[in-house]
């Protein structure tokens, strides 16, 4: 009997074959698309070599969605596009229509249901983000709430094309950076400012000392005997509050209601178009957590976005704009303060210095 059960159990089947979910027109023109046109921030059309036209209607999503949401979009897909749809790499929903006549009715229906159509072209893209207080144990802030607050404020930039180029915003609730924070046009990062508090009793039972020590980027953890058991000590002079030790050792919690918050970063980019990919750079070292609407953080993002909108030339990503005008002007225009926290002091810090007499006054 148990043998039989074992046999029936399905494992290692891997992902479903995507071919099953490609619409007929996509199957036919697979690899044979000729070009595309963006019709409006919610709609684009891909024209195949043979002239076939595939319309895409893109709809915003909070990513954390209910089964009802899923059924809603299924209804729409059934009604307008033979049931075919996809998600984007930034968690938007895309309806794939073969018939142009369905485009406007679909958009109206989505609007009626309260969904947001947009996100194509030179817009603020949907915010790549993470779990936050909804599901993670190491978060220095909530994720979905900050994202919602920012997107409410920047809503017009999702549904209308008003920007010099695409602006990708990302959010991560801790330095693990499960979101694309390390390389986004604007990034918001959950940030601790206090060293971990060690619970020695738990530590000696729960944690492996060598791997806890190895987890620290600044070598701030040293072994320490507590009674006759091996625990650790944190050098608070050098600890940079990264939380890496907590990840490997539950007995070193670092979250701190009063001292956790957000930092803001700009100028990251992943595409190789024109310039090489580059990391996001620090702008605002710290803003306290202000649930439920994170006013100051939202304002900081908006300040950056509007300075960019005003200053950048068409086609310039945020970093291209900043590098053209210079970082000193960026700080001047946005009013953020340049502090000692902005000067890199980690591994490749030396590579970030200004080895020249080039300066702007």
């Amino acid at each position: 009997m148990p043998e039989e059960v074992k046999k029936k159990r399905i494992t290692d089947v891997g992902p479903h074959d995507y071919h099953d979910y490609l619409s007929p027109m996509i199957k036919k023109n697979y690899g044979k698309w000729a070009y595309h046109e963006i019709l409006d921030p919610g709609t684009m059309v891909h024209i195949a070599e043979n002239g076939d036209k595939l319309y895409t209607v893109r709809m915003g999503s909070p990513r954390l969605v209910s089964s009802s949401f899923v059924r809603d979009i299924c209804d729409m897909a059934d009604k307008y596009c033979g049931g075919y749809l996809r998600f984007t790499t930034r968690n938007n929903v895309e309806f794939l229509l073969e018939d142009e006549k369905n485009v406007e009715p679909l958009k109206k229906d989505l609007d009626k249901l309260g969904y947001n159509v947009g996100g194509i072209g030179n817009i603020v893209a949907n915010i790549v983000h993470t779990q936050g207080w909804v599901h993670c144990h190491t978060s220095a802030s909530d994720a979905s709430g900050v994202v919602k607050s920012v997107m409410d404020e920047l809503y017009e930039y999702f549904v209308e094309e008003k920007l010099p180029s695409k602006v990708r915003i990302a959010f991560a609730c801790c330095l693990n950076m499960c979101g694309s924070v390390a390389s986004s046009d604007i990034a918001i990062l959950g940030t601790h400012r206090k060293p971990p508090k060690i619970n020695h009793e738990r530590l000696v039972n729960l944690c492996e000392v060598p791997s806890t020590i190895a987890a620290c980027p600044t070598n701030s953890i040293r072994p320490e005997m507590v009674g006759d058991k091996k625990s650790v000590r944190v050098n608070e002079e050098t600890c940079v509050f990264c939380g890496s030790c907590y990840t490997v050792c539950p007995a070193m919690p670092i979250a701190d209601a009063e001292n956790d918050g957000l930092s803001i970063w700009v100028g990251g980019k992943v595409s190789n178009a024109r310039t090489k990919p580059t990391f996001s750079k620090l702008v605002v070292p710290f803003i306290p957590n202000e649930p439920p609407r994170w006013g100051k953080a939202v304002q900081a993002v908006k300040t950056i976005l509007e300075a960019y909108k005003k200053g950048a030339e068409p086609g310039e990503r945020v970093i291209e704009w900043i590098e053209r005008i210079g970082w000193s002007r960026f700080f001047k225009i946005t009013g953020f303060e340049f502090t000692k926290y902005h000067v890199d002091d980690f591994r490749l810090a030396e590579a970030t210095m200004n080895y020249s007499s080039h300066a702007r006054f």
């Binding site: 074992k6 729960l206 492996e208 791997s211 987890a215 890496s244 990840t247 490997v248 539950p250």
Partner: protein, 76 residues
């Protein structure tokens, strides 16, 4: 690998995890490297050890834990 060696191997792996429970977390790769040395004479290969691990897991004798990296653990 003979069935006997296989049994020995499995016992050894489970024994190790038991013995060090709460002291050291074994990554599967540690076990594989360790057993490769230990059973070198018996001609046990990396693949054999991985296979044995898979069976131990499938039987629920050990499970995977996670804390900034996966490790082998006793089922709760």
């Amino acid at each position: 690998m003979t069935d006997e060696t296989k049994k020995k191997l499995e016992d050894k792996i489970i024994g190790l995890v038991k013995e060090y429970a709460g002291k050291k977390r074994f990554k599967p790769i540690d076990i594989v490297k360790e057993m490769e040395k230990e059973f070198a004479a018996e001609g046990v290969s990396k693949e054999d050890i991985k296979g044995a691990l898979k069976e131990i897991m499938d039987d629920g004798k050990l499970v995977y834990g996670y804390a900034g990296g996966s490790f082998l653990a006793l089922p709760e």
